[in-house]
Amino acid sequence: MSTEDGEERQVPAEQAAALRRTLERVWPLVRRRHLFPELPSPRLGSSTSRVAMEIREKQITLNLDYAAEISRLIPAETVLTALLDHAVSHYTCCPWDLTTHLRLYARAKDILGDADQARKATDLFMDVVANTHAVKERQSPLPSLYRHAPRDHADEILCCLFENIWGMDLGAKDHRAEVRRLSAIPYLDKRRWPASLTRFIRGIRPLLEDAQAEAAQDQSGMGGHGFRQYRAEEIEQALREFAKEVDSPQKFVEIFEDIQNDLQASGHCDLEGMGYGKGCPVDANWLYYMKLAENYALPVKKIPMRDSGNLHPHSHRPWEIGQPVREVDPWSSFGKYLPGITQIWERREGEIFGVKEKTPDCLIIIDSSGSMVDPRARLSHAVLGAGCAADAYLRNDARVAVYNFSDAPAGGREHLPFTKSRALLYRVLCRYFGGGTALDLPEITGLVRDTEADIFLITDMQITNLDHTIARLSALHNRVTAVHVGKKPGALRFIKAAKRTPNISVFGVEKPADIPRIVLGSVRSYLAGGKAKKKIVEEPAYWSWTKVPPRRK
């Protein structure tokens, strides 16, 4: 607790205990008024800052010193209820989730240009919305708290605004000229929040500029709303949605860099999933494509493959009482458990006979020559499409390799061997060479020789040795999914040639909406006859338990 002469002193133990007891009594009532939000019980803790509360991963921690100080002016119950109302309203009303928070912050950054000012403006706006919601919908005692809490200049103006829009006397100084523009904003209309924030910023811009000039404290009395208050799942989802909403990768990078420190401080270090972590600098470009690709799900057609090494049902043996029922074959006794009659599966390890449909590995060949879009500058459909393809194979437990090329024979290429690491894959996919376009065909055929790996080629078909490429790909037994970006003359040649080869499927992508139409490994001959179809007919697609299928040649 700070005294008038500025010296710090501890809250007496009895008073702290009394406040904790009050908090325990008040919290169920607050939860009930807010219709039982799923939040952990709040805590009372000491803080070095003078803000009223901190929120980390949904855990509300009220500042003991602050609560004790205000409790001398108004009942402790009122103080704690008001603070909790404010905190809970952030979860139940504004910003509600990180997606909305990011959306508002991005709008503020667009208008203000400065990250600190944008953060402050967003915080103030969210405070006004959350408090107004609490006062209007939940009959919160927040006005009492605002009437007695210590205020800086920004809080004074907020109080004056609250007086205007709540119609209550909060004892604020007269700032009517400043708050006049802020008073007619529809704060509680969620659909209009972006437009309302724009108007709000226009009204408080002088205040923000003054605050920056005077290097005033960057948090309001209630505390700032950093991005570290969210959980990992929310961050995942928000980044995914934000990647879909922004116009360009730069915008995503700009906003991500602003919030990166907060996200890292919150301790989410799952680099594979999240794409960021402590002490690991992140190239936000590939994070953008990673999150954007998560919005699309491409289907992969499986192919008959050999399988070995796992436990597989092999034969029946009678089931007896006391044995686990998990392996019971329900067909053996028509759903009844009859000891000695009901059969149980015996599993065996080792190579099984026959084939089973599985997803093969995939080699992604991506063109990053000068004719392709630079993925750092604009949305590259090639990188997005390749990312979607990589995700589709990874989801099916297959491995993915990347061959990123420009003028490959001249050294303009990067090859990532088969891996299941998304982060590594996206790093290589987002590499941009920007040179000429030529494929090193012997090298590529060497990568897939003696494997059943699929090939996913994405390019604008402006390849110098396109005819040789077509001939080589046609000669392979691997399935090839070729995607052309845009409609260049080379694409027509490729489509024409692909009609004669059963293992190549061609798709065109001109906008992100075209990406879901790609079916990976969709070999035409599967549907319309040809080599691959013949293969399936000869070998049963699903092997039978009762008959031992012929060993695959």
Partner: protein, 226 residues
């Protein structure tokens, strides 16, 4: 048996009535009225496909603007908001710079307030004809830059531009005072018949004024081409 809803018997579901419930819809209503007025003016002006700045044309547009805003309930805050809405183009049909500026000037000239501030510093484009025919007893302060014909035909009012203005500032003004804190463009004070223009920065070119006084950084420059 315990009633599980017993806890909620004193639960208040009714929302508290706040002044905000009245303020926000009133603002929206006023903005809708201003937009409707502008739409009427534009419908009138687009008939000739191309909008030229001609003396009669401007007078005619102003007359129509004054007619369409008659009876509207608005204030300076609404005018400022209207300027930003015009620029963003979300709620407006389209922005034609000339008629839009004349419409805003008509709104400023008929607003009940005598002193008005328009904070337009963060607008991406400048509006023309701001302060057109500003009458006696009115003071209009514009924060930000303005376009061409700022304070044209000023009619006794006081116009302060806290920024720069474009060409033809104060053209045809009869009386009043224009203060431009920064620079102004060419033909400043063209056909000016009275009043004063004070420019804090540099005047890029003077027009042929009939009467009145023009000052550049405190020095009288009337009649001298810079």
């Amino acid at each position: 048996m315990i009633n599980p809803f017993e806890d909620f018997k004193d639960f208040q579901t009714e929302a508290r009535a706040l002044p905000l419930d009245r303020l926000a819809p009133a603002h929206d209503e006023a903005m809708a009225a201003l937009t409707s007025g502008y739409t009427k003016l534009v419908e009138q002006e687009v008939k000739s496909l191309v909008w030229f700045v001609e003396h009669n044309r401007v007078i005619e547009a102003y007359t129509v603007a004054c007619e369409v805003i008659r009876g509207l309930d608005y204030d300076g805050q609404h005018i400022e908001e209207f300027c930003y809405q015009l620029e963003s183009g979300t709620a407006m049909p389209y922005l034609i710079s000339g008629p839009a500026g004349i419409y805003i000037s008509a709104l400023c000239n008929h607003v009940p307030e005598d002193d008005m501030v328009l904070r337009l510093r963060h607008m991406q484009r400048q509006m023309h004809f701001l302060g057109y025919r500003l009458p006696h007893g009115k003071t209009l302060r514009i924060e930000g830059d303005t376009g061409n014909f700022t304070g044209a035909a000023l009619n006794g009012g006081q116009l302060i531009v806290a920024g720069s203005s474009g060409d033809w500032a104060g053209a045809g003004m009869t009386e009043g005072k224009i203060t431009i804190v920064k620079n102004c463009g060419r033909n400043t004070g063209e056909w000016m018949q009275g009043g004063e223009i004070w420019v804090g920065g540099r005047i890029h070119g003077l027009g042929r004024s009939v009467s009145g006084r023009i000052y550049q950084a405190g020095d009288p420059v009337t009649g001298r081409e810079r």
